[in-house]
């Protein structure tokens, strides 16, 4: 078994456009290679429509890839049926941008965080409440919030609940899709610290999808830049920020330090 938690080769995914919107096919992801080593945080940056979210959803098999290979911790999951995928589910988890719509408004915080634990049956049911309190504390939430519902929480608290739900099953790979872009900067800083802290403690790998270069530079070890469905450049954070090679990477960097 290799040192990589995730190995993607030649991943392709296209979407059919409804005839009412002009028809045709959009190639969202056209043949990308990406690897994530154990314990590594890899940033995936690019503008909206570049295909970065599609990559994240293919990894989780929330979307079926059209071609290529996705190998998770040594297992090729590209064509696995949902049933065969189920035992592998605890290995990977996703945190979404909009925690408000990602959390079931009818469930309590405790119920939301317990759901993946109960679904996976990795522990006896009577141990679940203690595990929930434990992971809530790990993401910086007062376990007393377990009886609240999402609408009673602030945006930052909701995103912590999303993180707690993902970390409850101790995934090997976390796919975080713009987890802080809906938050104010003072709250964003706390969530980024939390991701860094829990990564250090749990040692998971992470694909961090973002369009915010300052955040990516802070959090990530390596960075891949996507443009129109392809990865146009990838490298360590030093390489990307100090010596960008692709013109698109350069224009992204220039835009992030705007001054007219």
């Amino acid at each position: 078994m290799s040192d990589n938690i995730l190995e993607i080769t030649g991943l392709r995914k296209a979407f059919r456009v409804p005839r009412s919107s002009g028809g045709g096919v959009v190639r969202a992801v056209s043949g990308i290679d990406l690897t994530i080593a154990k314990g590594e945080i890899v940033g995936l940056v690019g503008e909206s429509g570049s295909g970065k979210t599609t990559v994240g959803r293919c990894i989780l098999r929330l979307l079926a890839p059209d071609g290529g290979r996705i190998v998770l911790d040594g297992t090729d999951i590209t064509r696995l049926t949902q049933r065969k995928l189920r035992p592998l589910r605890p290995k990977m988890h996703m945190v979404f941008q909009d925690a408000h719509s990602a959390l079931n408004p009818h469930m309590t915080v405790g119920g939301i965080v317990a759901a993946p634990l109960r679904a996976q049956r990795t522990m006896p049911g009577r141990e679940v409440p203690a595990a929930v309190d434990n992971v809530l504390a790990k993401v910086g939430l007062d376990p007393a919030l377990r009886d609240r519902r999402p609408h009673e929480l602030s945006g930052g608290q909701r995103q912590r609940v999303g993180l707690a739900r993902s970390l409850a099953v101790r995934p090997r790979l976390l796919v975080a899709d713009e987890p802080t872009s809906a938050l104010d900067v003072s709250v964003q800083a706390a969530i980024l610290n939390q991701i860094a802290d829990t990564q250090r403690e749990f040692g998971f790998s992470c694909l961090f999808i973002s369009h915010d270069l300052a955040v990516v530079e802070y959090l990530c070890d390596r960075i891949a830049v996507m443009y129109q469905g392809e990865i146009v450049e990838s490298g360590t954070r030093e390489q990307i920020f100090r010596a960008p090679e692709h013109p698109y990477t350069r224009s992204l960097l220039a835009a992030s330090t705007f001054s007219p």
Partner: protein, 335 residues
């Protein structure tokens, strides 16, 4: 800055906005005063819930239904808050215009963008159909739309977000306003497109000698574009400063906190932690009897628990009692 010979273009004085909700009153804007000089860019910075957007809307009488607004907004000798509706409407879109965050909801989806911009042009002067078309084409050129004629017949949904924002800007500058209120004009756009739009706004304001009230949560954007900055929090102005001063020597602990929570260039999670501001923005239900930022402030002390401090200090002012106690602040910072 304005002088007696050069009065401010816009002078907002003691603006307050209150909502009466079923759970009691919410004080969204609490005595905001600000001035914008001719040919000046003033940024109003704040996080969500700070009251920055409501300040911009209320100046133009565009506050949402249910808002109780008091205070004055003097513009070229007239109080916009006391004008008859007809007179206010003629100033809105004429001498003062506005650009919003989301161009899709600001444009009419069932009319071509050429026609929508043409309507604004025709408000200003009676022109023949051909003359309107020429003027719109010219405006599309000014906002740097490639091959302007091609876009005249396009509907909003056929345009990208950046192109839609260009259409909004064309509409906003159609009547050569003296003041443009831009509320998060690039927040919904991708970074490379946002940079182009900002660059466009900067060059338009220089060529048209237009003043801009830039409302944003994005400090980086302020640095590149504004002459002066006002920092808002919980409906109060906490600091006002020339832009460079704000970044070099922030005077209010909240501004310090905002600057410290953004990752610095070159910083890594492996070598440094970010500094968030603990807690969250309060929802004010009654006039504060202590500093509004006190509950989240690392320097908070007994003097802060008396009243919300007034904004003091001239060109670079802050609403913080610690300004008068610089030595106390250093000590407090260690705590």
């Amino acid at each position: 800055m304005s002088t007696p010979e050069n009065p401010p273009l816009l002078n907002v004085d003691g603006l307050r906005v209150r909502f009466d909700t079923r759970r009691g009153p919410v004080l969204a804007v609490n005595g905001v005063s600000l001035e914008i000089g001719a040919d000046e860019v003033l940024a109003v910075v704040g996080e969500s819930g700070s009251g920055k957007t409501l300040t911009g809307l209320s100046v133009l009488g565009l506050e949402p239904p249910g808002a109780a607004v008091t205070g004055h907004a003097w513009f070229r000798g007239e109080d916009l808050r006391a004008l008859p509706a007809g007179r206010l409407r003629s100033i809105r879109g004429g001498q003062i215009s506005m650009v919003f965050q989301d161009p899709m909801t600001s444009l009419n989806p069932s009319l071509t963008v050429g026609r929508q911009v043409g309507e604004v042009v025709r408000l200003a002067e009676r022109l023949s159909r051909e003359a309107v078309r020429d003027r719109v084409t010219d405006l599309f050129g000014q906002v740097r739309m490639p091959s302007p004629e091609r876009f005249l017949g396009a509907y909003p949904h056929q345009l990208s977000g950046g192109m839609r924002q260009r259409v909004m800007i064309a509409m906003a500058i159609a009547r050569r306003p003296a003041l443009l209120i831009a509320d998060e004009p690039t927040t919904a756009l991708d970074p490379t497109i946002a940079a182009q739009i900002l660059d466009l706004l900067a060059s338009l304001r220089a060529s048209m000698r237009m003043s801009v009230l830039l409302i944003t949560h994005n400090l980086a954007l302020v640095r590149g574009m504004a002459d002066r900055v006002i920092v808002m929090y919980a409906g109060h102005v906490l600091e006002e400063a020339p832009t460079a001063r704000l970044f070099e020597a922030p005077a209010h602990p909240y501004t310090e906190g905002l600057l410290a929570s953004v990752p610095r260039a070159g910083a890594s999670r492996l070598t440094s932690r970010l500094t968030p501001i603990p807690g969250q923005v309060p929802l004010l239900r009654e006039a504060p009897d202590s500093c509004v930022f006190g509950p989240r402030c690392p320097h908070v002390r007994d003097e802060c628990r008396v009243a919300q401090p007034p904004l003091e200090g001239g060109a670079h002012s802050a609403a913080c009692v610690l300004r008068r106690l610089p030595e106390a602040r250093k000590a407090g910072g260690q705590a």
